[in-house]
Subunit: 269 residues, 2 copies
């Protein structure tokens, strides 16, 4: 037969779908593509242009700001070096973050002065943060993803948090998984936490040799305890699954160590 899609001939054993299903699938694909185009147009319509947005527009859609955000030093309260106030609109900030909303729509200092001070943030991260609140777009590298995740957690901007987590998960490697795990814990990033933990659990035999491990045992031993608890729980589940599989042969006594093989670290055997 000849494939209607790639036009190459194939044997019966390599057959895929009948023609009707192929045509249906093609229609579905077209419909999905149309839906994507419509959603993209909607995103473009709903997007704001931040007052500092440098891109050229079809007409100048950036709005007159009525509030500024300033990156300040946590101790002195003075603006950080090489920074400038970042202009924004109260309506946008309040719509995107319940924390900004509380600041701006009550009689708090920020609302009255029209200035919001943020500490522990660089000027670049602050600009990228404000821009994301307007456009739902950010250009991430490892540093920026971490900085924006911290801001997203603090100001409760869920959409940005998910975006940063996805980026950081895509970059996860075993060598840095403990640092990511600790970072995720500190900033309530549950998706990143799960992904980092899963990578750590797959490499338990190497865990205790890592420098970051020793540091974390000193600094925050509860986090290390949680790793071991998760590991034990995983072993019990693996054993239970093995029991279910082999229960028909009445071999219930599964040895946890043998079920998980050579990956069991010394302390458990």
């Amino acid at each position: 037969m000849k494939c209607v899609s790639c036009k190459e001939t194939y044997d019966a054993k390599d057959a895929g779908t009948c023609r009707e299903c192929y045509e249906e699938a093609s229609e579905t694909e077209e419909e999905l593509k149309r839906e994507i185009e419509e959603l993209k147009a909607k995103v473009n319509f709903l997007r704001f242009w931040a007052p500092l947005d440098p891109r050229p527009h079809d007409y100048n859609r950036s709005t007159t700001p009525d509030v500024v955000l300033v990156a300040v030093d946590a101790d002195s309260g003075n603006p950080v070096a090489n920074s400038a106030p970042v202009p924004a609109n109260k309506a946008v900030l309040a719509s995107r973050s319940p924390v900004f909303r509380a600041m701006l729509e009550t009689e708090m200092e920020e609302s009255l002065s029209g200035t919001i001070k943020l500490s522990d943030v660089s000027y670049d991260a602050l600009r990228a943060f404000v821009n994301y609140l307007y456009t739902a777009e950010a250009y991430l590298d490892d540093d920026m993803a971490c900085n924006l995740l911290i801001l997203a957690d603090k100001y409760e901007v869920k959409h940005l948090k998910t975006y940063c987590e996805k980026f950081l998960i895509s970059k996860l490697i075993w060598e840095t998984s403990l640092i990511s795990y600790s970072f995720a814990h500190q900033h309530n990033a549950s998706n990143l936490l799960d992904a980092a933990l899963s990578l750590i659990l797959d490499n338990m035999d190497k865990l205790s040799k890592r420098e970051e491990y020793l540091e974390l045992v000193e600094k925050d031993p509860r986090l290390i305890v949680e790793i071991y608890e998760a590991y034990l729980s995983k072993q019990v589940n693996t054993a239970a699954a093995a029991t279910t599989t082999t229960s028909s042969s009445h071999d219930d006594k599964v040895n946890i160590a043998s079920a998980t093989g050579s990956r069991v670290p010394t302390f458990l055997v």
Copy 2:
């Protein structure tokens, strides 16, 4: 063979794709669905809640208004019966419409008073219009689609105009196509105009008998002229296509009337 999708057996003549192409298509479909989910989350993040939005929210995301829109009688300038001021945010209006932007971000009356008066609009249409500027959503019937298209044209909100045009095009029937054509012309709705014109051109033999035709000849004869011009141009194109098809037999002299058959109205034969 057995179709891997519908699981039914089929003959070689009904064969569709090979298995490899089927698997690729399935992956593509999954990717498109993921992209749709991401875009929907983005739309949800970028959407504002209008001050009058009645829906319950995860937290109250509606913003404190700083401007009101009022539906007024064109002659008296007084608010229309059973209406109330519709609260909104300058930043949202200015971001969505260059017309509102010009009103609100210069020293015009509307900017100073915080009140925008709109004439020739019902209270319901005004509320739906403002709600669309916040959410990119509207519940349309024929009347509302026309009312919102008029506002979208006046205030240059392209996304809403396209949305209303699509709805009206989906409802087009021959019996009302002349009215739609005239309406589209009046409010610069080029997609609706093209669709209505195409339907009219397919029914030219019945055109001059319609009451709306006679009315339009009186009221705006240029519009009727444009229909006949389009009809003639279509005939010429059809004839040219027929010429190309038959040119190998050197039969260049194609009779326009015979090429288009019985649909040619009396005035042209």
